[in-house]
């Protein structure tokens, strides 16, 4: 990884947006990209979402925290969570539009999902597991926005409940209750599909 922090320091506070963007990419880029992949489950959409997220974050640069070196883990974490929040919002809006275009989640939408390889694992079990994951993806996307958002932030962004509360500006208790409701609803839906949960 190119250490732009030193570059910026050498520039006595380096004031170009490009350097700032580079620093942001270096510190949180991989995490944000993982998150985009998990949301979109499609590499092309993930690329678009990743790019839009960074451009949006740079527009809202005043919300980003100062980072002078890699040791500032708390600031980096806050920037990471800020970008995750932007990505989730952007995806939510894009998905609403996508939803009008297609009624079903296509196979292509789950291109990222690969089962863990295991020689001993019976093919039928693997297929069923893949099938249940596709159904789960459908059900997650069908969740009400409030519930879906906390599911994405908790499981895909791997945020703690207090971080989600901070990102969404809601009480921590609300995050917990939404997570709880989301899991219960997903469980019910999968059971309605015929799976034993």
């Amino acid at each position: 990884m190119r250490n732009t922090i030193n570059v910026i320091m050498e520039k006595e506070g380096g004031d170009s947006l490009q350097d700032a963007a580079q620093l942001l990419i270096d510190t949180v880029g991989d995490d944000v990209y993982h998150f985009c992949c998990r949301l979109t489950r499609n590499r092309m959409d993930a690329d678009d979402l990743y790019q839009d997220t960074f451009l949006k974050a740079l527009e809202k640069q005043s919300r980003l925290e100062t980072v002078y070196d890699m040791g500032q883990t708390e600031s980096i974490r806050r920037n990471r969570n800020f970008l995750m929040g932007i990505a989730a919002n952007l995806w939510k809006n894009q998905w609403r539009k996508k939803k009008r275009e297609q009624k079903h989640v296509s196979i292509e939408d789950t291109e990222f999902f690969e089962l863990p390889s295991s020689d001993e694992e019976d093919m039928q079990i693997r297929l069923e597991r893949k099938e249940i994951q596709q159904r789960l993806t459908v059900h997650i996307r069908a969740l009400p926005e409030k519930l879906k958002m906390v599911v994405y932030l908790f499981y895909a962004a791997e945020m703690r409940t207090e971080e989600i509360a901070e990102t969404l500006h809601i009480p921590k208790g609300t995050v917990k209750s939404r997570l709880y409701l989301a899991r219960a609803r997903l469980k019910d839906n999968l059971e309605a599909d015929g799976y034993e949960i």
Partner: protein, 398 residues
């Protein structure tokens, strides 16, 4: 085979990827000239004093955080102000009722007690499609604190009731809600937003029943086995649902030009819970027109047809693209999707998503999930056009 929901969710999200160098370069060398960002100083290089000041604001629970908790985040997102604490504060102060004790709502104070748990209805409100219910639950002393910090209780969590809503008019109901406010160690205020399961269904006046059966405590760890606090109890509340207790019908009668097509904005109905814009078009029926808003930053505009349904894919990144789409529309087809619908409160315009959903409907419907103060509505924006509602005649329906 039995599955664990927690395990499935973790597996479902277990996707890794690495951004390509080209992708990162697109961000680094993105032309920002258009939005004036090119030469702006990046505030992240602010002096450490400023960082300390910011930290102090966060630590002391500063300005923004206190305000935004009063109204729902998802509404903020819908209006496009979620990232702007200042605008959220303004919305909070001006546009939406902040407390459940809103005088417009019925306040029947219906109450039920069982197993040491008392449920009390605090507020209800309804329009044709949506209802809002706020209720308080007091947990008796036999229950440990229902929303305490982890430092005091290893099984930290928050108590949640399982509710069902029924109305004697028979339409099935969906709801979404959660904790509104933790009053104290044994009292929680909950709120639910209820809708009919289909837009074609309406909420008719009748007896609304809310039945709570089980109370469970979710835990900090996102496992699937919450603690059961009380079950098989009898907490049944009912009240007369008064639909459409207050709404305004603005008679717009305005024509909006979208490219070669003209869409008539007929009426706008705003209730404290929802926004419904009725549309028409000049010379073309909106029936069977399935309009899809599709946005591509750099892609071509596509018009697709799907069997007998006239499917129009409408790209509306900006006005220019909208015009290009209009030019391509076959004769007899029109656009019925207005992808920017906004409500204006005290003169400030707030974008929100609007859409037709599936099918050829002639209205745009949007449900809020906070009680709107109608007195604060000053205008609306539809597909980029601002309409000053202060000068538009309206009927108040109660």
């Amino acid at each position: 085979m039995k599955y664990d929901i927690e395990e499935l969710l973790e597996e479902n999200m277990n996707i890794q990827g690495t951004p390509s160098r080209e992708l990162n370069e697109r961000i680094l060398y993105h032309d920002r000239g258009g939005n004036g960002m090119q030469n702006k100083k990046f505030v992240k290089y602010m002096p450490k004093v400023a960082v300390a000041a910011f930290a102090a604001i966060v630590v002391t629970g500063g300005i923004g955080y206190a305000a935004v908790n009063l109204w729902d985040r998802s509404v903020a997102e819908d209006f496009g102000v979620a990232e702007d604490p200042e605008m959220m504060r303004e919305m909070n102060e001006k546009g939406f009722a902040q407390q459940p004790q809103d005088t417009r709502a019925q306040s029947d104070q219906v109450s039920a007690t069982d197993k040491g748990i008392t449920v009390t209805l605090k507020q209800t409100l309804a329009d044709e499609h949506s209802a809002y219910v706020c209720y308080e639950v007091k947990y008796g002393d036999q229950y440990k604190a229902v929303a305490q910090g982890r430092e005091k209780h290893p099984d930290y969590g928050i108590a949640m009731p399982w509710a069902e809503f029924q109305i004697d008019s028979g339409n099935s109901l969906n709801y979404c809600g959660g904790v509104k406010e933790v009053i104290d160690d044994h009292t929680i205020l909950y709120e639910d937003f209820i809708t009919t399961s289909k837009m074609e269904d309406t909420l008719n006046e009748g007896k609304m029943k809310m039945s709570l059966s089980n109370f469970t405590m979710d835990r900090e760890k996102a496992d699937s086995k919450p603690i059961v606090m009380a079950k098989d109890g009898n907490w049944n509340l009912s009240w007369d649902l008064s639909v459409g207790s207050e709404k305004r019908v603005y008679h717009l009668d305005q024509t909006l030009s979208l490219g070669k097509n003209r869409v008539v904005l007929k009426d706008l109905t705003i209730s404290p819970l929802s926004y419904t814009l009725t549309l028409g078009s000049e010379g073309v029926s909106l029936n069977n027109v399935f309009a899809v808003v599709k946005e591509h930053s750099d892609g071509d505009i596509a018009l697709d047809k799907n069997g007998d349904m006239k499917v129009i894919r409408y790209v509306r990144t900006n006005e220019e693209k909208a015009d290009r789409v209009m030019e391509k529309l076959p004769k007899g087809q029109t656009l019925c999707s207005l992808d920017t619908v906004a409500l204006c409160l005290d003169g400030k315009v707030f974008d929100c998503m609007g859409g037709m959903g599936n099918g050829g409907r002639d209205y745009v419907y949007r449900q809020f999930d906070k009680v709107l103060n109608l007195e604060k509505v000053t205008g609306t924006r539809v597909a980029g056009k601002y309409i000053d509602l202060k000068s538009v005649p309206y009927d108040t329906v109660k």
